[in-house]
């Protein structure tokens, strides 16, 4: 892609710059080396930008039709008005050394001062009045950006051109055209640079959990679509190329749907760079480019709003998921606590009784009493310990869900249902879940809730194992098949397999390799399957992966011989 190669360098610098400016927010900025580094870095990138965006200057006045440099200025100023001198200095230096504007130095200084004041004001309104924060993706912020930036640049372009006009550098008949030129350039510059910075912040603050392949697909399709769009746009050979501009909405919508705000911001920047490069290469007229920029503005507004909506929705869904996980964890703890209390109450009764009998027996022996009452107290104590054991057994039965509620169960249906439940989370982790049903499986006598627990557990384990792959090719297959008077459910993953040091103790309680696991999943599953007179075992898959197998009798535990 020629577009990216030509303009890749300044875009990178800009990323570094926004990063650096994000690092501090203290009061002692003037003494902080980061402040000066940011300012000087900004100057360098600003000048480089200007060197590269000299296209379509308005009558040599240094007014360009795309001003990412001014986008950068506004971004810096939202960090603090303290950077205003750098913004001012950068603009003056550009005028003098790069664009070489014809009017006097006084004129330049006056006009750029007006501009700097205008941007400081816009940045202050954005940051303090409207609470705009370039570091977060929120629909409200995006709306603020998309309404106040065009309005603010309209004001500044009016003041800037006004200053030039009053200084005699701009003829009255060109005032309106210069102002429009200026407005388009600044608005599109800001609306491409600031969202791009926001997405950089977002990507840096929390990396997405998705596998990289997902983004790769989004990116490839976008590039393909955009290239086709450009080919149609400029390849038709018509003078009015922008007629087919709407084709570029498709790749932007694609990226917005898949990658949200950050993706749209990057895509818009890429399209803008592509437009600039192509029109420069083809030598389009300034008037045509200005139309492109108007269309670009509409594309940006559409794309950014869509992206913000998608991202906000994703964030809400993510929050909900986290809350649900947290709730499940809390309720697990709460029920464990309640069980503990119940257990303590149940046990304290016989324990008190045993203590009383034993102490009585000791006192009787000490006082030299006959053996009959001592024996009596001791045997009563013994009986009480038996009762304690019964209490414990009852609780153990309760924990393993008590008696089996045997009914005819369709394992294929159950597998499909469990697979559907797990699929969303698995897909988010880049894992493909497949449920295979070999048809005509007989119904199995089993406890639906308990078997569901077993399959759920095995599937969750498999997904965890498969997600240890880093290549995004994680695969989990659940297969249900009949074998004579039995039905076998296989759960396969292509994860790294069972480590040899835990292979022997896989079914023992409290053995876990997961940071938040209790190590009860497999032991409980084994217990449940054994109560069904079934079998649960595992085997490694060559060359990679693990297979867990559950075998159940069609007629249930009663007919298990």
């Amino acid at each position: 892609m020629a577009v990216v190669n030509i303009h890749g360098q300044p875009a990178l610098d800009q990323r570094e710059l926004t990063l650096r400016s994000a690092w501090f927010s203290g009061r002692s900025r003037l003494t902080s080396p980061k402040f000066w580094l940011t300012g000087i870095g900004f100057l360098a990138v600003y000048l480089a930008f200007n060197k590269l965006t000299e296209w379509y200057q308005f009558d040599g006045l240094g007014i360009t039709l795309w001003s990412p440099d001014n986008g950068l200025s506004l971004l810096l100023l939202t960090e603090g008005a303290v950077f205003a001198p750098f913004v001012f200095l950068a603009a003056v230096l550009t005028d003098v050394f790069i664009t070489g504007v014809p009017h006097s130095l006084y004129m330049t200084v006056a006009a750029e001062l007006v501009l700097a004041v205008g941007y400081v004001g816009l940045a202050a309104v954005l940051r303090h009045k409207l609470k705009f924060n370039p570091r977060r993706v929120r629909l409200a912020d995006v709306v603020v950006l998309l309404t106040f930036v065009p309005a603010g640049t309209a004001l500044t372009s009016f003041s800037y051109c006004g200053a030039l006009y009053l200084g005699g550098a701009l003829p009255a008949d060109q005032f309106y055209a210069a102002m429009r030129h200026f407005w388009i350039g600044d608005t599109v510059g800001m609306i491409t640079v600031i969202p791009a910075a926001t997405s950089v912040f977002a990507l840096l603050s929390k990396p997405r959990g998705r596998w990289p392949g997902y983004a790769l697909v989004s990116c490839s399709v976008f590039i393909l679509g955009t290239c086709l769009g450009f080919a149609a746009l400029f390849g038709v050979g018509d003078a009015k190329e922008y007629h087919l501009f709407y084709l570029l909405f498709l790749p932007i919508i694609w990226v917005g749907m898949r990658e949200g705000y950050a993706g749209v911001a990057a895509a818009l920047l890429a399209i803008q760079l592509g437009l600039v490069a192509t029109t420069t290469y083809l030598g389009c007229e300034a008037k045509d480019f200005s139309v492109f920029q108007m269309l670009m503005l509409v594309l940006s507004i559409t794309g950014l709003l869509l992206g913000a909506v998608i991202t906000e929705r994703e964030q809400a869904a993510q929050l909900l998921r986290e809350q649900q996980t947290e709730l499940a964890r809390v309720s697990a703890y709460a029920s464990a606590g309640a069980m503990g209390m119940a257990l303590a109450h149940e046990i304290s009764q016989p324990l008190s009784t045993v203590a009383s009998y034993l102490h009585a027996a000791r006192r009787l022996l000490q006082s030299g009493a006959a053996s009959a009452p001592v024996m009596d107290a001791l045997s009563k104590a013994e009986m009480e310990t038996r009762r304690t054991r019964e209490v414990l057994e009852r609780i153990r039965d309760f924990v393993s869900s008590g008696k089996l509620d045997l009914k005819r169960l369709d394992l294929s249906n159950l597998a499909l249902k469990i697979g559907a439940l797990c699929r969303e989370e698995a897909t988010a982790r880049g894992i493909h879940v497949e449920i295979e049903n070999i048809r005509a499986i007989p119904l199995v006598m089993a406890d639906r809730i308990q078997i569901e627990q077993v399959l759920n557990n095995l599937l969750a384990n498999a997904i965890d194992a498969a997600s240890e792959r880093t290549d995004g090719r994680g695969l989990v297959v659940m297969r249900v098949a009949g074998r004579g008077d039995r039905v076998v459910v296989q759960v396969e993953d292509n994860g790294p397999g069972v480590a040899p040091e835990i292979a022997g103790s896989l079914f023992e309680a409290y053995q876990t390799t997961k940071p938040r696991g209790m190590g009860l999943g497999l032991p409980l599953s084994l217990q449940i399957v054994q109560k069904h007179a079934g079998r649960l075992w595992w085997e490694p898959i060559v060359p990679e992966g693990t297979r867990f197998l559950v075998e159940l009798q069609i007629n249930g535990p009663e007919n298990a011989g």
Binding site: H345, S356, H359
Partner: protein, 211 residues
């Protein structure tokens, strides 16, 4: 009088009742057991002083409610409260309601036995003290108005002459009253008389009751 020592056990668990009875019997303490608060109320009048081991979790009338009724009856019944849920609020409300001790299950048998012994000893003490107070009241009722005045001043520690001066009577008459007081109150010495009065929570109570 160890033979008179008796503890009432109120617990719905038969095993607890039996094991406590066995335990108490090894210390020579008799016991009577009740499966509920209602059963206890039906067989023991609230006014009768007693020592009670009371389980908090009872079917029907709860241990805490029975404790409040016993406290309201002001019958000098000492209650040892036993609870399965040994949380602070339960302990606090039990002590506020007038429980003598608060024991948490599972309890230590020896510690519980010590508590019972202590409670019984205190109950004996209280009973002795009450008997003495009753005696004191009966005796002081025999005193005349003048003799009662003399007694009050004697307890304050005034010598006879000062008492005579205070009451505006002769020393001789004072001596006469004093001898009558000592005789009626069955006090061997002045210090014995004072101790009796102080031990029983000052003379005023008896004084008022005599009026």
């Amino acid at each position: 009088m160890p033979g008179k020592r008796c503890v009432h056990i109120i617990d719905d668990e038969a095993k607890i009742r039996d094991s406590l009875a066995v335990l108490l019997s090894t210390a020579g303490i008799k016991s009577r057991a009740y499966a509920s608060a209602e059963e206890y109320l039906a067989s023991v009048p609230l006014s009768e002083p007693a020592c009670v081991i009371l389980d908090n979790q009872l079917p029907g009338l709860s241990g805490m409610e029975l404790l409040k009724r016993i406290a309201d009856a002001a019958s000098n019944t000492a209650v040892i409260m036993i609870t399965g849920y040994g949380d602070v609020p339960t302990a606090v409300s039990a002590m506020k309601a007038g429980a003598f001790h608060f024991v948490q299950k599972p309890f230590d048998a020896e510690a519980l036995l010590n508590i019972v012994e202590e409670t019984l000893a205190r109950a004996d003490e209280v009973r002795d003290l009450q008997a003495e107070l009753q005696e004191f009241r009966t005796r002081s009722a025999l005193l005349t108005q003048r003799e009662r005045e003399v007694l009050n001043l004697l307890i304050e520690g005034l010598p006879s002459k000062l008492i005579a001066y205070r009451l505006g009577i002769s020393a001789r008459t004072t001596e006469h009253h004093r001898a009558a007081v000592m005789q009626k109150m069955q006090a061997r010495t002045i210090s014995h008389l004072v101790r009796m009065a102080v031990n029983l929570g000052h003379f005023n109570g008896a004084n008022n009751s005599a009026k």
